[in-house]
Symmetry: C3
């Protein structure tokens, strides 16, 4: 595609050679003639080190003087333009595959138009499957499930009964939605009596989940994942959690029961939480943290137990210096005590014994 | 159902209006007319804030004076009664679904009576599947597997060969039982030679596992999960682990090889262990801990490396205060050293500089 | 099998009774007559406590005087010989099972000879499946996938399109290869725009992965797992990671995007990493660590943030002693301050300071 045409389709300005031909999007380092690439951060200052034919740069960073040897797409959001360029040049448009002849479909289930239902898919009773939905092989859907338009479920995804999934949702292979929450009541003998899990799950529009995630149904009531929220692989969402919109959870995050996560929150990899905590809008929690109590909106947090990121950094700096600073300080105090000892004995009388040498080892 | 009838079926006492109609069990906050709810903890003192028609309370906490405006179920174990009430009012009784016509079943496999084998289930040779067993779509069972009566395997569960699963066991979707343990022997060139994993797995009665759990078979010998033990989602149990009875493991817990876990143990979310450690009966390990050595029965533990919960709390309190207390103390010592300095200056002459204040910051 | 014959087939020396019959390999503690077992470490000094008929020991540790009551295999690598003996005595040789009649296979896909394709397997278009490949029930393979000779995919494994898997690879049940990486670009309103993931995955020869692992495809370019590398259960490998050869990752390890891991690295259980870090050849990272920055080859590391193992041990020893040493030191300083106050200037005898100035550094 020509630079000028690509710019028009992506809705951004361009500079350089309008006829420059772009055949693919490539990483900065491995770009070749015909490649479009992203030039932000350290790459922005070093365009000549890439063989790319054109660069996506921040429109605000561009000056005409630069254009001479290179071609550019000038974007207010270079990463978004990069994503859209990949989609345009590399992702073929959706082609409905129809319904495989071995499809097993329960009574009173409605299937939309232009779907792609691959072989070995099983759907229960009383479901509604939207238009242009894609169900890969091995997908199992229970009774009374709704799936919105243009949603894709990859291979071997399991959806239990009474689950509602919105439009343009993507669930990667092996993900499980609607399994029972971990709720038991201990009886007098110490046995764990199952708390039946009779609630449901709502996954709102444009949610994406990675592979082998698990979202439990509510015990009573609903487990909800808000619109536009993205989960990486192997994420665990317990019963009755409420996750807001446009939130990110990296791989192996685990939310305990009844946790509330706000909008635009970021939980980095392997974060865990206590039950019933709240994580405010826009909060950022660093990787491997344990959210042991509720944390406020907008803050940055880290550690187990959870601290503000600033406190956590201080704590760790000091902890790592301790094996030097503490013995040194103890030595200095010992020196001071030794200095004060003889003075005291002759001059200060009996209270000098309080120089607690006995405690010092 | 009328209050009096419900009380009779649950085997507990009641108070208030025997004809009070209860149609559902609801959370305290969202209960409406016709709802039964649980009133313990903070809710116990605040019954009027719920619209529920009846409350499950601890029998010991109840006095007749209270009954006037409300109706009650009086239970020695309110949470157990709550669980049983949900089962009674919300969970339809088991109805055998029979065997789907596409069932693939190996030679010499016996199937019990009143089973529910959904479509797309594959069972190997020489298996014994008990009565009233439910196998959801996509379940794969290898050769020589036993599954006890009334056990349920949800969608896409994978059971390898030579696995024994007890009665009334529940395995949620995507869970894998009997995969090879992580055993390799390094040869002289640094290559990892596979240790063949030829042992088996025993899952005893009334075990429940969440979604996408993994239980490895023994290398030689058995990996065993004791009766009544419950695992949350994404739990990893390595080869040759022995887990006792009525133990709880929250989501994303991982046990290394040959770990022994006692009875009535609680491992909170994301706990990990070293290989070969033992965790005594009744021990409680806090979330995200690393059980780096064996821990005794009955104790409470936290941290990585593992400490008693009490030590861990102390360690963290002090660590988090260190950035204030350590510099402050260093400053006070410096002041003391400075005070001792001038005294010396008149007397000690040139060797006074060895009071190394200059090195102290 | 007779001892002498077994030794010949394993290519090691023997001692004792050449006709000693060995029927099985057993753990040291539970070995019986007819068992071969491994005697290394603490077991080496205590052969009489095992009922085994023969012991695998390090050739270098053996002296003829020892042979009288026992029989031996004498190996330069006893654990490797142990692994090979299990394979020889317990693992039946591969028997091709052919192709199940319900096999669903896309156009232009080639299947090798002597394969074992179990029921309910789905393979896409333009794939090449090697000789003696085993595909268990529920395996789903997308378009344009290559699978090398003698590779085994266990039940419900999901392989996306454009994935290359080498020879003698083992992927345990529920594992997912080629799902989309976690890549999003935030637009001006805070929505996360999907970065299409159009790269691929290469799994080299002799890789083994546990159950329910996830390996994401490259965004652009390749995610690669090097030859002979072994992953335990529930491991997460993000987009564009490059993992070297003969590396070990224990259960629940998670690598963020674009991480480079060298050859012969060991990552213990539940280790996580920041994106873009590098872990040098032969490095060892202790369990639950967070690799927050790149770490050099050959080192041992622990903690979050990451430290050398030595520093981490020091940090933890001091942190755990802090609740004793810090208050004690504060008390001593307070005492010194109290002493210095009244004494003030001019009171303390001039000679006292000379005491131990020499000790102060």
């Amino acid at each position: 595609m020509r630079l000028q045409e690509l710019a028009a389709r992506l809705g951004v300005a361009w500079a350089g050679n309008p006829d420059c031909r772009l055949e693919r999007v490539s990483p900065f380092e491995t770009a070749e003639a015909g490649s479009l690439t992203l030039a932000v951060g350290k790459h922005r200052e070093n365009l000549s080190s890439s063989q790319a034919s054109a660069f996506i740069v921040a429109a605000a960073s561009f000056s005409d003087a630069e254009a001479a040897p290179h071609s550019f797409l000038l974007s207010p959001s270079p990463k978004v333009t990069f994503a859209q360029a990949i989609a345009l040049l590399h992702v073929p448009p959706y082609q409905p595959q129809g319904i495989a002849p071995d499809f097993i479909c329960g009574l009173d289930t409605e299937i939309g138009t232009e779907v792609s239902i691959y072989p070995r898919v099983t759907v229960g009773k009383n479901c509604r499957i939207g238009n242009r939905v894609t169900l890969h092989p091995g997908v199992v859907i229970g009774d009374c499930v709704e799936i919105g338009d243009e949603t894709t479920l990859f291979a071997n995804v399991s959806i239990y009964h009474h689950v509602s999934i919105g439009r343009r949702v993507v669930l990667h292979a092996g993900t499980v939605i609607g399994s029972d929450g971990f709720g038991f009541a201990q009886d007098a003998t110490g046995n764990h009596i199952k708390m039946p899990q009779v609630g449901d799950v709502v996954i709102e529009d444009e949610v994406e989940m990675g592979a082998n995630c698990c979202v439990d149904r509510g015990t009573l009531g609903t487990t909800r994942i808000g619109r536009g929220t993205k989960l990486d692989n192997l994420v665990h969402i317990a019963h009755n959690c409420e996750v807001g919109e446009h939130t990110l959870m990296a791989a192996q995050v685990g939310l305990s029961g009844s946790v509330k996560v706000g909008h635009h929150v970021t939980l980095a990899g392997q974060v865990g939480t206590n039950p019933h905590v709240e994580i405010g809008d826009g909060a950022l929690v660093a990787g491997k943290s344990g959210v042991s109590k509720s944390v406020a909106a907008g803050g940055q947090y880290s550690g187990m137990p959870i601290q503000t990121l600033k406190e956590w950094k201080l704590t760790h700096i000091f902890a790592s210096q301790l094996h030097k600073r503490l013995p040194q300080l103890e030595k200095r105090v010992k020196t001071l005590e030794a200095q004060s000892q003889p003075t005291g004995s002759g001059v200060r009388g009996s209270d000098s014994e309080t120089a607690d040498g006995s405690e010092s080892s």
